[in-house]
């Protein structure tokens, strides 16, 4: 019986590693190939490079518009996430505390956007008429709007769990709505707002469809478009494509490692509560 149990345990551990390898191997192939010579990378194999060639990364950085697009991505992700945190904190607070019919309706109206698809063709018209096509401000506002539904959903549930007695005590002590919000509620919301920030940062960083429709000048491109275009030009040189993929993934993986707790927390909240 004990032998059988040990065998099962070993089997499960082996299985877990095999499945993790299924995820790791594609990345390993790409990372290894990013250091290979052009000729050696012609065939994609899981072998160490004969000689590590760091030059690839330099070429990619110079020819792939990576510097400029990195800053575009960083600007769009950071600015829209900050703005999002700001508007969502305010709306989650008022909509969840104010029990009127109007606020209930507004809440549902806003979170409806979680599932509804965005129609990019008329969106272009709207952005054009606002003078926001091919502009940083336009992209930042668009990303903020796109992030509102799911972020509000996460934050709303969180605010509902903050006891209302706190508000009453603060009002007794002479706070008004704004003071109550800034001094009492916001500090309690910090962790959920960090979650909203991190999740939105990642999703904007990874966004491909919106820039594909909205941005048609190279200077405005985020990393996703720059990489896609690079692949179009250099698809025969897998060492360069691989280096490009590695460089683009690094910032996201770093954010993931730092914000892991918040990412997983945010993605699972709402799914398992209740």
């Amino acid at each position: 019986m004990r032998v059988k149990k040990r065998l099962v345990s070993i089997g499960l551990n082996v299985l877990a590693w095999l499945l993790s390898l299924v995820v790791l191997i594609p990345f390993a192939v790409i990372v290894l190939n990013s250091f290979k010579s052009d000729a050696e990378a012609k065939v994609l194999k899981l072998t160490l490079p004969e000689k590590f060639i760091f030059e690839n990364y330099k070429i990619v950085y110079e020819q792939g518009h990576l510097g400029g697009s990195f800053f575009n991505s960083l600007l769009h992700s950071t600015a829209s996430s900050l703005l999002l945190v700001f508007v969502v904190a305010f709306s989650a607070f008022t909509l969840s505390r104010n029990y009127s019919k109007l606020s209930k309706f507004l809440y549902f109206f806003l979170i409806l956007g979680i599932t509804l698809p965005l129609n990019y063709i008329p969106l272009m018209e709207v952005m054009k008429s606002l003078g926001m096509i091919n502009s940083h401000v336009g992209m930042i506002l668009l990303y903020t709007a796109m992030g509102i539904p799911i972020s509000l959903f996460i934050t709303y549930a969180f605010v509902s769990n903050i006891p209302k007695e706190l508000d009453e005590a603060a009002i007794m002590d002479g706070c008004n709505g704004i003071k109550l919000f800034l001094r009492i509620i916001v500090p309690l919301l910090t962790s959920v707002l960090v979650t909203v920030f991190v999740l939105n940062f990642l999703s904007v960083w990874n966004e491909f469809t919106a820039p594909l429709y909205m941005l048609n000048t190279v200077e405005m491109w985020p990393m996703t478009l720059a990489v896609y275009n690079f692949f179009g030009q250099f698809s025969a040189q897998w060492n360069l494509v691989s280096a490009d993929i590695v460089l683009t993934s690094l910032p996201v993986l770093i954010v993931f490692l730092i914000g892991q707790k918040y990412i997983v927390g945010g993605l699972t909240s709402g799914a398992v509560k209740g």
């Binding site: 995820v23 790791l24 700001f86 491909f208 429709y213 398992v272």
Partner: protein, 290 residues
């Protein structure tokens, strides 16, 4: 206490304005454009009623193929992600070593853009020198080597497999959270009564996980119906139109300048999603009120 004074609804106005401008206005405008012949070749937008919808639903059979592909993609990836996600979650809570490390590894593709994942697999699945075929050939399994993304038979299954590979980690994380919330006593009581692994799985685990399964299904379906990046990056709808889904068809009609028609395709997707959303919001509402 006057709630409207302490919690004035206009605190929400920032969110509401942005949402109306960038999400709601395009949605409504798009429905209007669906009934016009708006295109890049003339400056006028003439009202043509339901003509686009007739073309899509009864005229040109390729459009029905796009809808069929979208539904098939959604159905198969949803089932695959749910089954694999549950399997992975069960494995990782069963006491394997380094469970957190495994969880992180398997979840990691989820944080990458589909663009990156798509390009990785475009390289790996290359018919001549890609990793998959090279490995198969070196194992003497030449028969199994395929033109993964370029053949009519394999292109769609390949996209579905890559999408599942990327998305299963998220579903797994949901299931891990769900599994950890099930009280241990149930299993202890069942063990005393002599229940085996499968009995516990089907009598306790799966029934207790129903809320998580529901949410996972909802997420998978809404993601699947809206899929764009995965198909666009891996095959761009090819070979021919074999892997086109609604959103890639919208993009190509946009690129060709058929804006009215593209809007009509979007509107069809919008209607399908709106019906599903109605049920989803009701589900989520139940979750929010503890």
């Amino acid at each position: 206490m006057n709630v409207n004074k302490i919690y004035p609804w206009y605190f929400s106005s920032g969110a509401i304005v942005l949402y109306l401008l960038f999400i709601v206005a395009p949605a409504l405008l798009g429905i209007y454009y669906s009934f016009t012949d708006w295109n890049s070749y003339s400056s006028e937008k003439n009202f043509i009623g339901l003509e686009h919808f007739r073309t899509i639903l009864a005229g040109d059979p390729t459009y029905l193929l796009f809808i069929k592909n979208t539904v098939l993609f959604t159905l198969i990836t949803s089932i695959a992600k749910t089954v694999l996600g549950l399997f992975l979650a069960l494995l990782l809570v069963s006491g394997v070593k380094a469970a957190n490390l495994h969880r992180m590894i398997i979840f990691s593709p989820q944080v990458l853009s589909f663009l990156i994942v798509g390009l990785v697999f475009k390289s790996l699945l290359d018919p001549n020198n890609g990793f998959v075929n090279v490995t198969l050939r070196s194992l003497g399994l030449d028969v199994l080597a395929q033109n993964w993304l370029g053949s009519l038979t394999w292109a769609m299954p390949s996209i579905m497999a890559v999408d599942t590979w990327k998305g299963m980690g998220y579903i797994m994380v949901l299931f891990i959270a769900g599994l950890l919330a099930i009280p241990r006593d149930y299993y202890e009581a069942a063990s005393i009564d002599g229940a085996g692994f499968w009995q516990k799985l089907f009598r306790i685990t799966i029934p207790m996980l129903m809320p998580t399964i529901t949410i996972a299904t909802v997420l998978n379906i809404t993601y699947g119906l809206r899929v764009f990046d995965a198909v666009y990056v891996l095959t761009n709808g090819g070979p021919g139109n074999a892997t086109d889904v609604i959103n890639t068809a919208v993009y190509s009609s946009f690129a060709k300048g058929y804006w009215g028609l593209g809007s009509a395709l979007s509107t069809i997707l919008f209607v399908i999603m709106a019906i599903i959303s109605f049920f989803i919001i009701r589900l989520m509402n139940r979750k929010v009120e503890y």
